[in-house]
Symmetry: C2
Subunit: 202 residues, 2 copies
């Protein structure tokens, strides 16, 4: 069985948690509290010198980092990763879009606002994240106005990766009212069998 | 045959160019000059509304964006993508690392210094990129001190993606003198059969 070291408040960790539920993958969750400094202990740094979660430990003790690489590893061969070469590449197009054009704006703004309580020292940075975040939301909304899911009519790994921070974008100050296609898509994902929200289940 | 819309001065475009040479993939190169505004023409925006390169047009007229998703598409099934599930995931770990922890520092600093000539208005931003860039180089150097290539003893897609901006990191103000393992690895890649540098061949 795999062990996931994660903080469920982090979208990057939650996306792994959601994937495991949707695909019925067995896992052990090792809760790490970022705010309490759990990532800076000698014990954790021995596992991941970069001091970041999510971190996955395989049954044989080897480790994987980078949330979307972990998604790729866990979803391989599943219905969430199309065999068709073009649709398959589209999944990865969205995964890289997420880490380059979405997460650095929306996740960082959310962290400053929700978890740091918007300190004066980061207010300018918070403001600077709004433009890029809305640009990313617009790209998603444009696509979701044309197709049910990000790569087309098929629900895929791309939706899981993008859903994680998008469904809590308002916590980063991004009002979703102008993105009706995103709101429709969020509801659709929340109705899926085995869906779990951003809280650990007992 | 695929058409690659790219600016060879961009590491994200060059990595596709290098991959095609190493794997002997036929392609047509459509040179786009970012500095001259080639990405903002109506004609190009019709192909990619985000106005970014690299953009790949497949033989059937469909498009792909995101440099590392394009690498994934083109290298599928080749010797550059290991079949072993763990090594395979490691490739993607490095690809996501590149776009999240390496490119936003090293490529942006290089752009400001080399292509914008370090305007006063971006000097603070340039300085702010140095810490993150060195952090990424240290992660690479630590790995390359232990193994020949990024995922181990096997040359892979990960090396191509990371090589693109690393071998010109000095143009972004990152002196590689303190990263001997990276310098050794750069030389090794440059000696590979079919290697091409960052200039278009006639």
């Amino acid at each position: 069985m795999i062990t996931i070291y994660g903080d469920i408040d982090s979208g990057n960790c939650y996306k792994i948690y959601l994937l495991c539920h949707l695909l019925d993958i067995e896992f052990q969750w090792q809760a790490m509290d970022i705010a309490k400094g759990d990532l800076q202990t000698t014990e954790f740094l021995a596992k991941n010198p970069q001091g970041k979660v999510p971190l996955v430990e395989l049954a044989d003790g080897r480790f994987l980092t980078e949330s979307n690489a972990i998604l790729h590893y866990l979803a391989k061969g599943s219905k969430l990763v199309p065999a068709d070469a073009y649709l398959n590449a589209k999944v990865y197009q969205w995964l890289f879009f997420e880490q380059y054009s979405h997460e650095p704006y929306i996740a960082v703004a959310r962290f400053i606002k929700r978890f740091q309580g918007m300190p004066e020292s980061r207010k300018a940075e918070f403001e600077s994240k709004q433009g890029g975040g809305h640009k990313a939301l617009k790209v998603m909304n444009d696509q979701l106005s044309q197709t049910a899911f990000l790569i087309g009519e098929q629900f895929s790994l791309a939706d899981i990766a993008l859903y994680a921070y998008t469904h809590v974008a308002e916590e980063g100050g991004f009002n979703l009212v102008d993105y009706p296609a995103i709101r429709r898509w969020i509801k659709q994902i929340q109705l899926m069998p085995n869906y779990v929200g951003m809280q650990l289940k007992n």
